[in-house]
Amino acid sequence: MGEGDILPELVRGPITRHTLALFAGASHDHVPLHTDSDFARAAGMDDVFAHGMLSMAYLAQALRCWVSAERLLSWNVRFTAITPLHATVHCRGHVIERDGNRARLSIGAWTDRNLQTLDGTAVIALD
């Protein structure tokens, strides 16, 4: 693994209302912005939208295609845009630098309209 190496893209979705209902229950995130259209519209949104943590869970799966979960030391993202209903989530990453037995990756998620929704970094342990 070296600088510039690219993580295989992982694609999930499209995000349906059913996806969001399941994730609300499974993740214990019961904020109604993600499951109740009336509530979301009253809050000024077009409709319900995906939990940021759903995309971050997908991103964890993408990272695991590359390295085992035990090697993920720390990682962070900023949620730069909401993921709308019916979007497809594209998780991507690449190596920024390798320093001894650690590598720092740039990671992110994009919708199928190429809107970046997550932007972050991950530090992984190498052999």
């Binding site: 999930r12 399941l22 229950g25 214990h28 971050m56 695991r64």
Partner: protein, 153 residues
Amino acid sequence: MRIDRDAHVGVVSEPRTVTVEAGFLTFFAKATGETDPVYFDADAARAAGHPAIPAPPTYLFSLALSAPARRGDLFDADHGLGIDMMRVLHGEQRFTHHAPIHAGDVLILTTTTSDIYDKKGGALQFVVQETRAEDRAGVLRAEMRMVTVVRHG
């Protein structure tokens, strides 16, 4: 309603004891389209060398939500910050993993409200909360830092 920085920064929650439940891990795997059976099948997990189903790397977030703090909860109007759910967005999220977490583990969570700051002339407030997950032996297993955005106006 604006959040009073002085009233909340530095507040530390009471410790909350949570058990990592296999059933919820299986449900989480289904809800996230997980394809690796290690995350939903205890036999597959053991065959892969895990003592039980492992918690995926974002799961501490869900554990914390499953046991809201009495002191310093984002939404609790009486004992916490009393934020209106209509006004929240998730701003940032960080995880630091120190040791694996598996089904059956008992963890003690403590959450500190570490900062509250404004952007866009006060139109947005950012609340930073940091959660530590220790096991009963006092070993730090994972930490997370959550930034919640509150939209005003």
